[in-house]
């Protein structure tokens, strides 16, 4: 396998990012749509990097929860933004992996020389969630719409029953298992014997790290206020183990030993994020910095339905593949960004990498990937503090990590690991 000749490519540069502060569901952004948030976020990026009326290679973004009206969401957002209207755009969706996957897509096109610049992003609202009419009512309404004569219309209308009126609210549940993501995570937490206290500790550290980062101005060039919010409103600088320990478990409830609470799980969140990627040449021509390069990425999926693997364990599988391809070990990084969907997910992920039996049996490795230096993990806070607007998390992490690596200096390396619904996981390497 040593002699795999790669085609001539270049590494895409991460120029910077912008996001709006994340807001807990039904709070500051209760009235904002996906398009509102994505447009504002793109405009903030445009302002930060002077992209007004510029035609970029493309804009790639997505939302996990989408309305029918979110048709062509990203392109519509571009048309409403300050970018040139001749910038193409398309939507992607890979659940919580959407944002990072979008960045990989843009980076790959840059790497291949197909484009010179692009924006990757993601947005989600759980406040303005797409509420559907029941399937039955929807069918009646469709036939009503198709009816040509008054009689046909009346006939269609006559089919409406009171029971049809109740709307269908999207549930945060896996379609195939009917389990909430948290309940899945709870199964994994139990399997890996992840304790309550270590989860709470991780959550507290996330809040404290992010609050400190805000205080020292770290987010000044990563976040633009929106609708009166200038910091993530889920952030609790005064979070403490004592406070978190009083919360009752909300997932895996049937189990008396349940450990996952609202404090060590991410809440439903609204928000949007964007990242500006480019070739080094484009960045230089436009007088823009290169914070880091997107070196490589890997996506994996697990059979969490019938295969016996945890829903959120796919990054565990993706990691060794990517590390091997790059000749790196898990310890060769200055920073680790492991998306905190749940504190237990982060802990189970690390535990799996440290477990010789798992690494041999499931990952086919002679020796485990080994431990991660915790002092390099999510050092400026992650989703437990910021909140997690599904598709927007990837962009938040990429921009945040790129800036950290830039500050650390040339040659520094960072690792991203994001788990996603549907048993998927996306990992990536950034290098400054």
């Amino acid at each position: 396998m040593a002699d795999t000749s790669k085609p001539a490519t270049r590494k895409a540069a991460i120029v910077g990012g912008n996001r709006i502060p994340f807001a807990r569901s039904n709070s500051a952004y209760a009235q904002a749509s996906n398009q509102d948030m994505l447009t504002a976020t793109i405009d903030g990026l445009v302002a930060r990097f002077g992209l007004q009326d510029k035609q970029l290679g493309e804009v790639v973004a997505g939302a996990v929860l989408k309305h029918a009206r979110d048709f062509n969401l990203t392109r519509e957002s571009v048309l409403g933004s300050k970018l040139s209207a001749t910038t193409p755009a398309y939507d992607v969706q890979q659940a919580c992996g959407t944002g990072l996957e979008a960045a990989i897509l843009v980076a790959n096109k840059i790497a291949l020389g197909q484009i010179e610049s692009g924006i990757a992003g993601g947005v989600d609202t759980t406040s303005d969630a797409p509420l559907a009419v029941s399937d039955d009512l929807r069918r009646v309404l469709i036939s009503l719409n198709n009816a040509k004569t008054v009689q046909d219309r009346l006939k269609a209308l006559a089919k409406i029953r009171p029971g049809m009126i109740a709307p269908e609210i999207p549930r945060n549940a896996e379609p195939r298992t009917g389990l909430a993501m948290g309940d899945h995570a709870a199964i994994t937490a139990k399997e890996w014997e992840i304790g309550r206290e270590e989860q709470d500790e991780l959550a507290v550290r996330s809040h404290h790290n992010m609050a400190a980062a805000y205080d020292r101005g770290f987010f000044d060039d990563l976040v633009t206020p929106f609708l009166g919010l200038s910091r993530d409103n889920n952030l609790r600088p005064d979070s403490s183990l004592e406070k978190l320990s009083t919360l009752k478990p909300v997932f895996g409830k049937g189990d008396p030993a349940a450990t996952m609470t609202a404090g060590n799980s991410t809440p439903l969140t609204d928000g949007a994020s964007t990242v500006l990627l480019a070739s080094d040449e484009w960045a230089a021509e436009n007088g823009l910095p290169v914070l880091a390069h997107l070196v490589d990425a890997q996506t994996a999926a697990v059979d969490y339905v019938h295969g016996g693997e945890g829903l959120l364990m796919a990054p565990v599988y993706a990691m060794p593949v990517m590390l091997a391809r790059n000749g790196l070990t898990l310890q060769d990084f200055d920073y680790y960004e492991i998306h905190e969907a749940f504190a237990s997910t982060v802990l189970a992920t690390m535990k799996a990498w440290e477990d010789p039996a798992f690494c041999k049996g499931k990952l086919g490795l002679d020796s485990p990937l080994g431990p991660i230096d915790r002092s390099k993990l999510n050092v400026n806070g992650s989703s437990l503090a910021a909140g997690h607007p599904f598709a927007a998390t990837g962009g938040r992490i990429v921009a945040q990590l790129a800036k950290m690596l830039h500050e650390k200096g040339p040659g520094s390396r960072g690792l991203i690991s994001i788990c996603a619904a549907g048993g998927q996981g996306v990992v990536a390497i950034l290098e400054s």
Binding site: A47, G50, K82, D220, T224, P225
Partner: protein
């Protein structure tokens, strides 16, 4: 933010009513618009004694396409078009007796001055006078100009520029400014130019083309107006404001094709972060406008330390720290850099309830004066602008009475607009304004406060 009274007083019925009631009728000022000629009519140039600037002035105006009338034609004749500007070269003054010729020239010429006209006097600074008599004559012009400014109607202004020996080449930029619509709300002022090496041929429309300008406090009000005017004149504006104002800041940056930089200028690392940003993105900076400012009003006896300290930190210390860092960092300030600091009328006249604010703004005046020589050494300048009553969102929140009185007690009988401050700052930022250094220019319509 319209001036309802000015609009009313200039309406058909309003004009009649205002006249009959003997109320002032504030004029609609002549403000600059791109493409506009320097003056809407001819200019008359006269001199008191053997002036040394007249020829240069005439040449300058002709180059601008201004028809220059002879004083003879103007004197008593009615065939000529009414002048839009009356310019007196008073550099020849030796004694107070010579002032008679100033009167002889000005009296008939100013009588024929059209609305929104300009009176500009150029003279040597009294401090350089050979004799007390000459100093007296020169100083006398102060009183003359300030009084004329109060007598002029119809939005006309009168100003005095001191031109020391050797600084003759520096007059073009101030002359253009004072005659143009850019100086609409600058009235009754006295300022000095100094010798400087100046670049040639200015493009009057894009005086700041290719320049990188930082404007702090750019998210709203005067700062946003400054950013817009600088961009209009061709500069790439780096709009700076606190992170919490980032959304408005982004709007401003996007409107003008600039960039937004969210930064708390009072943070310990703010100068370093600003400089890093400027060097990384723009290879340095040409123009720095220290506009960010806050008020925390209280009578001194009731003022806590927090109010005092926060106002000082934003309004004065941040300007000092950032400017010092720019000077200390190799390559941060580009050649012929311009620093413009926003002071305030309060810093000159004082204001009840604003000991902290007035102190900070007075400090700014001292700061630019002290720094000017050091800036001059590197072909750069540092100046201050002191706005008077400027109609902004902030003043819109003032009680009606306070606001109306505040906006009327000046020679132009109206409040200024943010753009008036912005135009003045943009002028000071021009490459051609290298001869203006260490000055504090009031943009106050000749306010009676601190006059």
């Amino acid at each position: 933010m319209s001036d309802w009274y000015r609009d009313f007083a200039n309406s058909g019925f309003g004009t009649t009513l205002v006249k009959q009631l003997g109320l002032p009728r504030p004029a609609v000022l002549r403000r600059f618009e791109p493409g506009q000629p320097l003056l809407p009519g001819p200019a008359i140039i006269g001199s008191a004694g053997e002036g040394r600037l007249r020829e240069a002035l005439t040449e300058l105006l002709r180059a601008e396409g201004v028809h220059v009338q002879s004083p003879v034609t103007a004197d008593g004749a009615t065939d000529g078009e009414k002048p839009a500007a009356v310019i007196l070269d008073a550099t020849g003054l030796r004694t107070p007796g010579d002032l008679a010729s100033a009167h002889d020239f000005l009296s008939p010429a100013v009588k024929r001055l059209r609305a929104t006209g300009r009176v500009l006097i150029l003279a040597d600074p009294p401090s350089d006078a050979d004799s007390p008599a000459q100093a007296a004559a020169r100083q006398a012009l102060d009183g003359l100009v300030r009084s004329m400014a109060k007598e002029l109607r119809g939005g006309s202004t009168a100003n005095l520029v001191h031109v020391p020996e050797g600084a003759e080449a520096s007059i073009a930029s101030p002359v253009r400014f004072f005659l143009s619509g850019r100086s609409a709300y600058v009235d009754g002022q006295v300022m000095s130019v100094s010798p400087a090496e100046l670049p040639k041929a200015d493009d009057d429309e894009q005086l700041l083309a290719g320049k990188v300008a930082v404007v702090t406090g750019a998210a709203r009000g005067i700062g946003a107006a400054i950013a817009k005017v600088m961009a209009r004149d061709g500069a790439h504006v780096v709009a700076v404001d606190i992170p919490a104002a980032g959304d408005k800041l982004a709007e401003v940056a996007n409107e003008i094709g600039g960039t937004a930089l969210q930064l708390d200028i009072t943070a310990a690392d703010a100068p370093q972060r600003l400089i890093e940003h400027l060097r990384e993105r723009h290879g340095g900076v040409d123009v720095v406008v220290h506009n960010a400012g806050i008020t925390r009003d209280k009578l001194l006896v009731n003022m806590d330390a927090a109010r005092w300290n926060s106002v000082m930190a934003v309004n004065l210390q941040a300007q000092l720290d950032i400017t010092q860092a720019l000077l200390d960092t190799e390559g941060a300030l580009k050649p012929n850099a311009r620093v413009v600091c926003v002071s305030s009328q309060s810093g000159i006249a004082g204001n009840r309830g604003q000991t902290n604010y007035a102190a900070s703004k007075a400090g700014v005046i001292g700061m630019v004066r002290a720094w000017a020589p050091q800036f001059a050494e590197r072909g750069a300048t540092i100046n201050a602008v002191a706005p008077g009553f400027i109609v902004t969102e902030m003043t819109a929140k003032m009680p009606f009475g306070t606001r109306e009185v505040g906006s009327r007690i000046n020679s132009l009988q109206q409040g200024g607009l943010p753009v008036d401050v912005a135009e003045t700052i943009a002028w000071l930022s021009q490459p051609g304004s290298g001869g203006v250094n260490g000055q504090t220019v009031r943009v106050c319509g000749q306010s009676m406060l601190g006059a």
